[in-house]
Structures are given as structure tokens and as C-alpha cells.
């Protein structure tokens, strides 16, 4: 197995190191031959499993992911950056030169694409594990599935179901909170509502989300577009379901769609 990093915070690959009770058993079952964050022992491919964290934001990385794909049997993307472009995909809505000038005194030294995109926009991806960050137990399940040669069974239902399981009183109903739980994929453990705040969608769209219906419900008195658009447009901003809904209700966008 190899672990590869693109534009990201390292938090998802850290989840592998956060498997404190399982780490040594995982290492017994798998040869980890490319994991720069954790090991100086590096071997070239081919890899049975490539775990890919991060999004594509530079030309160099656009070519690098092609190489990783070429040498990997199963390519699994982990986290919101790799599966949707991450928070850095906000620049897809901005002016690249303006971003450069805002952060760097000498923009001519910076090489960057105008977009941050998911790995699947560039190469074939065998499985996408979502979350910002990913859930480490789901990661273990994906690795075990691939070892057993079966498809991973990561649930795609919404956060709402997990709130019910957890016994959390619905904060959207009981407290008029704006919560993305109904359209967001479970996997976090439904933590935000349990901590008295609305879900902010860090696991991305659930299976068959009805984003427009939920947005219209909130816009009918509970929230303004100025409040709702940033909520849809954060860590999974470029996931199609969230992007299309956010763009539809964005009063500052003349036409739907992004660059």
C-alpha cells in the first residue's frame, strides 16, 4: 500500500496513525511501502492499494496523479480534498490573481492552477471515502474490504438517521437551527447536532440529496441566501450537489456554474 498526498492538511492520513489499537495489526497485514508522513522506508510501485489525500491545484500534481494511477491496482481517495476539491476549491469562485496578491508579496514565484479539483476529475478512482476528516473506522473497513477482495460498504445515508440512532433531539425542528444533516452523508457520528450546532456538511452530499428542497425550506423564513450559500460552499464546495444548489441560490452569481 502507498499513501500519497496532494493539496491537503494531512488530517486524513493522520487518521491512519490514529488507529492506535489497530495500527500494528494493520502493519502486520499490509506492507506499507510509501507513506512519507510515517516512514522513511520508501519503495517504488506497483501498489495494490493507493490511498490518495488532497486535491489537484498545480500542474506538477496533475501529472503526479497520473503516475500514481499508472502504478496502482486500487486507487482510493480519502477526504473532502481528494473527493471534492476541499476548502481550497473556494478559489474556483474567485479571481486567481486576486488570491495570489492577497497572500503573496511576489506572486510571480507561485505556480498554481485556477481551480482545485477532485482526484476523480483527473483519473479513474476505484473508491471515494468521504469526510473532512475521514472516519478512521471507515478507513479500516475500506482497507479490510480490499484485502478481502470485496467492495467497501460505506453507508451513504444522511446524518439525520445517525442523530436518531444517537438519540439527539433534532435541532432543526426543535431549535430552528439551520442544519445540513438531511442532505449530508453520515460517517462523522452526527457530532455537530449533539454539540448543539447545525451540521455544516463536512462529509459531503448523501445519496440522492434533495438540496434544493431543503434550501428552499430554510430560505422561507429561517435563513437568507447570504447565510446559506457559505454553508453549502465550504469543505465540499465543489461536490456537484452542493455546488449546484449553492450556485442556484447565490444572489451574486448571474449564471449558474463556476469556472
Amino acid at each position: 500500500m502507498g499513501v500519497f498526498k496532494f493539496a491537503s492538511c494531512d488530517g486524513c492520513q493522520l487518521q491512519l496513525l490514529s488507529c492506535e489499537d489497530e495500527l500494528l495489526s494493520i502493519a502486520d497485514a499490509i506492507d506499507i511501502v510509501h507513506f512519507l508522513e510515517a516512514s522513511s522506508h520508501v519503495e517504488p510501485g506497483p501498489y495494490d492499494i493507493a490511498l490518495v489525500e488532497g486535491s489537484i491545484t498545480t500542474n506538477v500534481d496533475r501529472n503526479r496523479i497520473l503516475e500514481v494511477r499508472k502504478h496502482s491496482k486500487y486507487l482510493v481517495t480519502i477526504g473532502a480534498c481528494a473527493t471534492a476539491g476541499g476548502i481550497q476549491a473556494l478559489k474556483n469562485w474567485g479571481d486567481r490573481s486576486d488570491y495570489l496578491r492577497a497572500v503573496y508579496a511576489r506572486p510571480e514565484y507561485i505556480e498554481t492552477l485556477s481551480t482545485s479539483t477532485a482526484i476523480a476529475d483527473h483519473v479513474k478512482v476505484d473508491f471515494e471515502l468521504r469526510g473532512c476528516p475521514i472516519n478512521r473506522l471507515q478507513l479500516i473497513d475500506v482497507i479490510l474490504s480490499l484485502l478481502a477482495d470485496r467492495a467497501p460498504r460505506t453507508p451513504r445515508h444522511s446524518v439525520c438517521l445517525d442523530c436518531k440512532r444517537r438519540g439527539t433531539v433534532c435541532i432543526a425542528v426543535a431549535q430552528d437551527a439551520v442544519c445540513l444533516g438531511p442532505i449530508t452523508q453520515a460517517g462523522c457520528g452526527a457530532i455537530c447536532p449533539a454539540y448543539q450546532r447545525g451540521c455544516y456538511g463536512c462529509f459531503g452530499p448523501a445519496a440522492q440529496p434533495n438540496c434544493d428542497s431543503l434550501a428552499d425550506w430554510y430560505l422561507a423564513g429561517r435563513a437568507t441566501p447570504v447565510e446559506l450559500v457559505p454553508l453549502l460552499r465550504n469543505f465540499n464546495a465543489n461536490a456537484p450537489a452542493f455546488r449546484e444548489c449553492g450556485d442556484r441560490i447565490d444572489p451574486f452569481l448571474d449564471s449558474g456554474g463556476t469556472t
Binding site: 493522520l14 510515517a38 516512514s39 522513511s40 476541499g86 495570489l100 497572500v103 503573496y104 514565484y109
Partner: protein
């Protein structure tokens, strides 16, 4: 090229650091002509993408700068925004914030020591390899780290990118009983941490004492985490809001990276656990203070390799303080102080696991971010690491290039550089001499 005497040593990808970087060393007649620590993390433009966002999202967004120390980013942005908004928090919220810091220090130091750094002292390539020789010690390290993660999960909701910290306080204050579920593990963790500190202090360290200006926060009554003045071993003593008058991030031509320097003299400086222990020995917890005198190090210590001992002492401190905060906890109401958005400006500094971190924000009347500036620890240590390497390399040139490269990697790792949290990126410039 300048002929046969020119030698270039390259570490194409640094390993066992967070984030990705590379190192290039240029030699002529066995003299070091240049050392370049390059960060090839793609730029993610956090300071730009924060502009126009609702200010209450800031802690959630800044957390994503670094998956290893998200709390430091969250908390520094929260404190800076509270300055901008004129919010005064309660002593109960303040104590819970220190508890959150304890969790992050335990987790982050635990990762760095056991999974990234200790393998160096036994010439192992990873903790997996280390575990074959020291199974008990690696399992103890993982147990200790797990308790740090558990603390973050109870108080923050989850360990990576916690969701409970808010401008004004917390979305929900923990119940007493929730925190008390941690007590037994924290007691075990304290004992483990003491054993770890004794273990790491028995390692062999290269002699490499340097004339650093070490910079850390200082508070008269508590070990510095989220509040204090900024002081140095060369006499600096300023309020956090004077940071930009004394430190400046430079984007300089022919430099390999954005580097924060002391101004006006343009000198490098050193931040992190060793700087903190050196500048704050009297406010360490009782067990950490006791250990400090037992570990056979003369304090203040200016050997960067011994940072791991300082890191271990801080883990002892963090466990002991966490136990104390939980024992004293009587609930926290309100969990969050309410506020009215206003146009304002605020800045703050805290101590991330790997050193001083500084944020400044401007807010708008309708509660949005107008401007953000983030100075992470790694951009502050970067110049010092390069200078260290330039001095150190001649002593390790005897072996082959790969031995030299390995020795350099070890020195870099002792700083615990967190390259993904270098929010800035510079393209590498190669200057052949």
C-alpha cells in the same frame, strides 16, 4: 556547473514530517555554499479565501490548515476575533480552552515523538520497525496519544478538526460526568508520560549547542498556552499585539521559502517546546518540574536535538494540568458569550504544539472577515533550520551523500516542522555557486 569539486546532496522528499518538503545542499570544495529547505506543498490561499466569509466559520476553516494541530489554528483565530469584537470570556470557558490545548499537545507531541522522531534514535525507518525492537514503548506511546485524542473527542467532538470551539466559547459545555470518564485514562497517561520523559532523556544526543534567540510566550501564573507576553532568551518582552513590530514574514527573491524574521536586525529565531521550557521553567506542573531536574540536562538548553525531552516534559505537564482542570470543573454556564458583530481589528498569539502562532483579522459591521493574516510556527523556524544545517553539514560530510542526507533529516525532524501548516508556499530557486 563549476567542476569536479562541486557536490549537490538532495533529499527529494523529507519523510516523517507533516506535509511535504525537500532539502537541497550545495557544496564547493566541501564548503557549504547554500542550504535550501523547500516546501512544495501546493498553496491553498487560506488568507484569501477567508475574506467575505461569516466570521463564526473562521475556526472551522482555519482548523483545516493543519490536521495535526487544528486546535492551535482554531483557538488563535477565536481569540483574535474576540479581540476584534470586544468579547470578554468567563474563567470557566478559559479553563476549558486550556483543557483543549492539553489534549492537542498530548496528541501532537505523542505523534511526533513516537511515530516520527524516536525511530531516528535507533536508526529505524518507522515506528512499525521501532515496535519490533521496543514493543512495550511503542504501545505505551500509542496509548498515551489515544488518551489525548479521547480528550479532544469528549471536549471538541472529534480529534481532527474538532467542532465544538466557537467565537465566544463552546457550542456546548461538557457535562461533569463526561469529563470524569477521562480521569482514569489521564492518570495512566501521566504515569506513561513520566516514563516516556525518562526514556527519551536516556537517548544519545549529538553535541550541537547553538546561540539561538529562543522565542516563546510567557505568563506569570501558568505555563503558556493561549495567553501571555512574547519573550525571548535575548531579552525581548512584548505584548502579543506588538508582534508585527518585531517580526516580519518575508517573501524575498532567491529565498526558498517565506520566512519570518526578527526585525529590524533580520535575524533567525527558534520557537517550539524547547523555547517554551527554557523560558517558562517555573510554571511547569509539579511532576514536570521535578523531572526537569532529573533528566540530566542543564537548563536553559540550546541543543535542538533535545527538543524531544522538552516535548516529553510538556506531555507530563499537559496530563497533570488536564487532571487538575477536570477535578476543579463545576460546569460552564453560559457555554458561549454572546456578541454583536462590529467593524473591528484584533490579533492574538498562542502556543501551537510546534511553537508560537500569530493571527490578525479585520471584521466588518455585518459579521464578515475583511482581512486575515496567519503566521504559523514552521515559517518562523525555517530560517533557523537552514542556518543550523549550514553549520552542521561539515561535521557529517565524512560518509556518503545518503548518510549526510539522513543526518540532515534527523536535525530537521527535531524541530517537528509541520509543512502542511505552512500556509505560504514559495517556488524553489536553485542557485548554483
Amino acid at each position: 556547473m563549476t567542476g569536479d569539486t562541486t557536490r549537490t546532496i538532495q533529499v527529494a522528499a523529507l519523510t516523517r514530517v507533516e506535509g511535504e518538503g525537500a532539502l537541497r545542499i550545495y557544496l564547493k570544495d566541501n564548503r557549504v555554499t547554500d542550504v535550501q529547505l523547500s516546501i512544495y506543498e501546493p498553496p491553498r490561499f487560506f488568507e484569501a479565501l477567508l475574506r467575505g466569509r461569516p466570521l463564526e466559520e473562521t475556526p472551522d476553516i482555519t482548523a483545516r490548515i493543519c490536521g495535526i494541530c487544528p486546535i492551535a489554528y482554531q483557538m488563535t483565530s477565536i481569540h483574535a476575533l474576540e479581540q476584534a469584537l470586544g468579547i470578554a470570556i468567563t474563567p470557566e470557558i478559559r479553563a476549558l480552552r486550556r483543557l483543549l490545548y492539553c489534549g492537542e499537545w498530548i496528541e501532537s507531541h505523542g505523534v511526533h515523538m513516537h511515530l516520527l522522531h524516536i525511530p531516528d534514535f535507533f536508526r529505524c525507518s518507522s515506528s512499525i520497525e521501532l515496535a519490533k525492537r521496543f514493543p512495550k514503548e511503542v504501545i505505551r506511546g500509542l496509548r498515551l496519544k489515544k488518551t489525548g485524542n479521547r480528550l479532544l473527542e469528549v471536549l471538541g467532538g472529534r480529534a481532527v478538526h474538532p467542532i465544538n470551539a466557537a467565537v465566544g466559547g463552546f457550542y456546548r459545555a461538557p457535562r461533569k460526568a463526561e469529563l470524569h470518564t477521562l480521569t482514569d485514562d489521564l492518570k495512566q497517561g501521566l504515569q506513561d508520560a513520566i516514563d516516556v520523559a525518562r526514556w527519551v532523556s536516556s537517548f544519545e544526543y549529538p553535541d550541537f549547542d547553538r546561540d539561538y534567540e529562543m522565542v516563546a510566550m510567557h505568563h506569570p501564573e501558568e505555563y503558556p498556552m493561549n495567553e501571555g507576553r512574547i519573550v525571548s532568551t535575548k531579552g525581548l518582552d512584548i505584548a502579543a499585539n506588538e508582534f508585527e513590530q518585531h517580526f516580519e514574514e518575508r517573501h524575498v527573491a532567491h529565498s526558498t521559502a517565506l520566512q519570518c524574521m526578527r526585525i529590524p536586525a533580520n535575524t533567525a529565531y527558534f520557537v517550539g517546546p524547547l523555547a517554551r521550557v527554557n523560558l517558562n521553567p517555573s510554571t511547569l506542573s509539579p511532576s514536570a518540574k521535578q523531572l526537569m531536574s532529573e533528566v540530566g540536562i542543564e537548563w536553559p538548553c540550546f541543543n535542538p536535538y533535545k527538543s524531544i525531552v522538552a516535548r516529553a516534559l510538556e506531555v507530563v505537564h499537559a496530563f497533570e494540568e488536564a487532571l487538575q482542570i477536570i477535578a476543579d470543573y463545576q460546569g460552564c454556564s453560559p457555554a458561549r458569550v454572546s456578541y454583536v458583530p462590529r467593524q473591528g481589528e484584533g490579533c492574538w498569539a498562542t502556543e501551537a504544539p510546534r511553537g508560537l502562532i500569530y493571527h490578525r483579522y479585520e471584521t466588518t459591521e455585518d459579521g464578515k472577515i475583511a482581512f486575515a493574516k496567519i503566521v504559523p510556527p514552521t515559517s518562523q523556524n525555517q530560517r533557523q533550520i537552514e542556518l543550523d544545517l549550514a553549520d552542521y553539514i561539515p561535521s557529517v560530510l565524512g560518509g556518503g551523500d545518503s548518510e549526510t542526507a539522513l543526518a540532515c533529516e534527523r536535525l530537521i525532524r527535531s524541530y517537528d516542522p509541520c509543512i502542511s501548516c505552512s500556509t505560504h508556499f514559495l517556488k524553489l530557486e536553485i542557485n548554483r555557486q
